[in-house]
């Protein structure tokens, strides 16, 4: 389970934002999570619930947006998205695809009380 390390990284970024912008409390956090990010959303949420206690984000809600994998067909160059394996090109049916996106885990934004 590496979700706890990821939440620790999230709080490092939030701490830096807090030092810079000087808010007192965070009420919501939006994360974007690729279906191939290697993260189990439930584990991430559980880790967040544990970690946020007694912090400036103790009342914050975690909003997870799961985004699909984006891939390009190596045969006809078509770009497509999908949530599930196996990936194949709907235009030419080729399975030879290059994954472009869908492995990311990004802090998109947060809502703070200023």
């Amino acid at each position: 389970m590496h979700e706890l390390s990821l939440i620790a990284s999230l709080f490092e970024i939030l701490e830096a934002q807090k030092a810079e912008k000087g808010f007192t409390k965070i009420t919501a956090i939006k994360l974007r999570c690729g279906v191939f990010s290697g993260v189990v959303p439930e584990c991430l949420e559980a880790a967040f619930e544990v970690y946020k206690k007694d912090t400036f984000a103790s009342e914050a809600k975690l909003i997870l947006e799961v985004v699909p994998v984006k891939f390009r067909c190596r045969r006809c160059q078509q770009i497509e998205t999908a949530y599930d394996l196996p990936f194949f090109c709907p235009v030419c049916q080729s399975k030879d695809v290059e994954i472009l996106d869908g492995t990311e885990l990004t802090l998109v934004s947060f809502e703070a009380e200023i």
Binding site: H2, S9, Q17, G38, D96, V108, S109, A112
Partner: protein, 223 residues
């Protein structure tokens, strides 16, 4: 009280990636070609490194970093062969991170040609952490069955290669070699695939030769 939405767009693995890139830079300057080995517990990572040592050492100076949750048994196995080895015990964490490697990287002797990093036995979490390696290989052993690539797509997606280990068990255990290769290539068509046995030595020489060639290319690009 005012509520305000603040846009950030920052990668949660960004700080790890930054350290990994610094490591890669350092290793490149030293001519150290680095291989990150990932697999489920017990797939044969340490055994493979031991066999590679028999082919590479001492003509090709090498060093080994062993990641483990608790013990330092694996590093002891490597040191028994006279090869410098460091154990990182993660104390519960199920993966190595770049900052853990950064703490010991300067202890690696000058003139080292290959650095093998054995990740913590786990196919999920290590896949997300770049360690500054040049090559990432996933190991999959015959007893584990053919469906691993579909269960752990990120590991197969981020690796350059796959090593199917314990090939000597093919026969007693039913395992469809072609099927697993096909499944793995569905996720990552560019995977280089080797089959090895640390029992019989099958395929080890081929993999060692491949590594020597890859390091040569790395050195040429360095020049």
């Amino acid at each position: 009280m005012n509520r305000k939405e603040i846009t950030v767009f920052e990668d949660l693995l960004g700080s790890n990636k930054k350290i990994a890139n610094e490591l890669r830079h350092y290793l490149r300057a030293k001519g150290i070609f680095t291989i990150n080995l990932m697999s489920s517990p017990g797939s044969g990572k340490t055994s493979l490194i031991e066999k590679l040592i028999d082919h590479l050492w001492p003509q090709h100076p090498l060093a080994v970093i062993e990641g483990d949750i608790e013990t330092d048994l694996d590093a002891a196995r490597i040191r028994a062969k006279g090869v410098p080895a460091w154990q990182i015990t993660t104390g519960g964490a199920c993966h190595l991170e770049a900052k853990m490697i950064a703490r010991i990287i300067r202890e690696i002797p000058e003139k080292t040609e290959f650095l093998f990093i054995e990740n913590v036995g786990n196919l999920v979490c290590p896949a997300s952490y770049d360690l500054g390696e040049n090559l990432r290989f996933v190991l999959l052993s015959i007893p584990e069955g053919e469906d691993k690539p579909l269960k752990y797509p990120k590991a197969f997606l981020t690796a350059q290669g796959l090593i199917i280990t314990k090939i000597d068990l093919l026969g007693p255990i039913s395992f469809d070699l072609d099927k697993v290769k096909e499944e793995a290539r569905k996720i990552n068509p560019t995977l280089v695939i080797f089959t090895t046995s640390s029992r019989t030595g099958e395929g080890i020489k081929e993999f060692a030769t491949y590594l020597i060639q890859q390091r040569q290319r790395f050195q040429e690009n360095n020049a």
